[in-house]
């Protein structure tokens, strides 16, 4: 009962503020609602007992990326942007794509409703004591099972970072 209340609270907040994020005209307001959405999603992660993902979501997305978003928005002249047309005019195409996607998800959920472990189901919560420690489990899989892909990704990110620095550097 309580689990469901908490889940629907976070899910409701996430969906509501996602909608508000799209419809606000002011870019800062959109950013604020995007932050709310991300926090609500983090809450759902926490409810799934994925503490590490929860805090990674808060530190990386909310504390890191959104700060940079707002920083950039503040440097842009908002009053000019407000007078420009903000919504693209391909709304019929967008509507078509949205309906198609929604149908696809719906059909998938409906067709797999009888398969155990899939489809739209609300499983009973596992007691927290029965789960392995989240951070340790993640570290194990990252640094043991998937060590090579992990290292490749980190080198790739490093290359991207160095590339960004080189491109941003003043040419003298």
């Amino acid at each position: 009962m309580l689990d469901k209340v908490i889940f629907f609270f976070f899910a409701g907040v996430a969906i509501l503020s996602a909608g508000l994020m799209v419809t606000r005209r002011n870019a800062i307001h959109s950013a604020v609602f995007l932050i709310t959405t991300l926090m609500a999603t983090a809450g759902i992660f926490l409810q799934l007992r994925a503490e590490f993902i929860f805090i990674a979501q808060i530190i990386l997305y909310v504390g890191g990326i959104m700060v940079l978003f707002i920083f950039v928005i503040m440097l842009v002249r908002l009053d000019v942007a407000l007078h420009q047309i903000q919504f693209s005019r391909q709304k019929w195409v967008a509507l078509l794509v949205t309906v198609a996607l929604a149908l696809e998800v719906g059909v998938m959920l409906w067709s797999s409703r009888k398969v155990p472990g899939q489809g739209f189901l609300l499983p009973n919560a596992v007691p927290a004591a029965g789960l392995p420690a989240n951070t340790e489990a993640l570290a194990d899989s990252l640094f043991k099972a998937y060590l090579l892909p992990f290292e490749i990704v980190s080198v790739l990110l490093l290359v991207a970072m160095v590339g960004a620095v080189v491109m941003a550097k003043k040419r003298t």
Partner: protein
């Protein structure tokens, strides 16, 4: 009984400690904040050979209450062109983030605010860093040049120094091997040494970065009075301003708690495993009793009768606290010792950390913004990276090659300090060439935020 009502009862039964401590945080932290401000004013007065607040209560002891009442009944001004929604939201975010972060701090082995979550330390630093949004949004919503300058400076500063602080914490966490707040302290207990002695450079980096993160002098560029009036808080007044202030001081407590937990041994008393140092257990009760006795002595010298009574009240409160702290020394009550004395040592360490902050504020002149950025990016962050490597190497030397722990520590710390000297030399050379070669009117990248 209705099943929903029963579920609610079970919920309260399972979680009443957390619910009550949440209420206690919201109720007590503003009071502590008020007295931190009084302490800061008194210390500043002392260092400048003045008396500080003396009028309200004996020695100004009621000044925080008077200030709080003043702030609550002050006119609440919202600028005409301000964005009202964000203007309303920003101080709330700032305060909530700092208060929420306090939820995961452990004040003693058996006494912590929330449950010991698996990512405790990350939770504290992650959530407290959300206070940045309060500053940025508040500065933007005020629709004022000073505010937005303060907000931009603050963002740049916090993003830069959070990296250094995070890397310094990584050095400590390598030694602890866990993110759980309680397990970190227990690790220090079992090793018999505080991590500040095993990773001194990391502690130093964390101190500097946490001063910058809490926007305090000498890094208080976001609210530099001589340049920006009050920075992001310029347009705020009354209760909203008080929210910002509360968030700022609560943040000081949070960084103090993080440093205490990870580097200063948390709730452990000095020399926790040395038996002939057990007389230190008398110290908590004795020191508080001494404060109480001093209050009794001062009470006779108060000018008005009300102030005499109040001083007696303070003295009695101190003596009662001393009695409570002395209770665990009596055999049958010794089960209280970890909780009570743990909380005493923990709060004492936090207070010492905050005292250091205040001391630095009254002694050091403010940095210039480009100097601040240089210190962060050219010295602290590279040094922190080198230090993470050094601590890792020291651990491998100790566990894999059987070196003495202190030998490994001395070698790697010397290496880190050599790196620091090299970085400083490099920085000197760079600034020397920059000031001689570059024409002064050409702004560098960092200068664009300098106002």
């Amino acid at each position: 009984m209705h099943p929903n009502l029963q579920a609610l009862l079970v919920f309260v039964q399972n979680w009443w400690v957390e619910l009550v401590s949440g209420v206690v945080i919201v109720a007590v932290v503003p009071l502590i904040t008020g007295y931190l401000v009084l302490m800061e004013r008194k210390l500043m007065a002392d260092m400048q050979a003045r008396l500080g607040p003396m009028r309200v209560g004996p020695h100004g002891l009621l000044q925080p209450i008077a200030d709080a009442v003043k702030l609550l009944i002050k006119e609440d001004i919202i600028p005409d062109n301000a964005d009202r929604f964000v203007f309303w939201l920003a101080p709330v975010v700032s305060m909530t983030a700092a208060l929420t972060a306090m939820g995961a701090i452990a004040f003693g082995p058996s006494f912590l605010v929330a449950r010991d979550i698996n990512v405790g330390l990350l939770f504290v630093i992650g959530v407290s860093s959300l206070g940045l949004f309060g500053i940025v949004l508040g500065g933007w919503a005020s629709n004022s040049h000073y505010s937005i300058m303060g907000a931009l400076r603050s963002t740049a500063q916090l993003v830069s120094y959070e990296t250094a602080a995070g890397l310094a914490l990584v050095s400590g966490l390598l030694l602890a091997g866990t993110l759980k707040i309680r397990a970190i302290v227990q690790m220090q207990e079992s090793l018999g040494v505080w991590f500040v002695f095993l990773a001194p450079v990391a502690f130093f980096i964390y101190v500097v970065a946490s001063i910058a993160e809490t926007n305090r002098a000498p890094f208080d560029l976001p609210e530099a009075e001589s340049e920006l009036v009050a920075g992001y808080m310029t347009e705020y007044s009354g209760f909203r301003w008080a929210c910002y202030f509360l968030g700022e001081y609560a943040n000081m407590i949070v960084v103090g708690a993080v440093a205490t937990t990870l580097f200063l041994g948390g709730w452990l008393r000095p020399f926790p495993n040395v038996h002939w140092m057990n007389w230190l257990d008398v110290l908590p009760a004795l020191s508080i009793a001494a404060v109480g006795a001093y209050c009794v002595y001062r009470a006779g010298k108060q000018p008005a009768r009300v102030q005499v009574w109040f001083m007696w009240g303070v003295a009695l409160a101190c003596l009662a606290t001393a009695l409570i702290l002395a209770a665990p020394l009596y055999g049958p009550l010794s089960f209280l010792q970890p909780g009570l004395h743990g909380a005493f040592w923990f709060l004492l360490k936090i207070s010492a950390y905050i005292y250091l902050f205040m001391w630095l504020r009254f002694t050091l002149p403010r940095y210039r913004f480009d100097q601040l950025m240089h210190l962060g990016w050219y010295i602290l962050i590279p040094l922190a990276i080198v230090n993470v490597l050094a601590v890792g190497v020291a651990m491998i030397l100790e566990t894999e090659y059987g070196w003495n722990r202190w030998l490994a520590l001395v070698v790697t710390t010397a290496f880190t300090l050599a790196a620091a000297l090299f970085l400083l030399r490099l920085n000197d050379k760079r600034s020397a060439t920059a000031s001689s070669a570059a024409p002064p009117e050409e702004p560098t990248t960092e200068d664009s935020y300098a106002g």
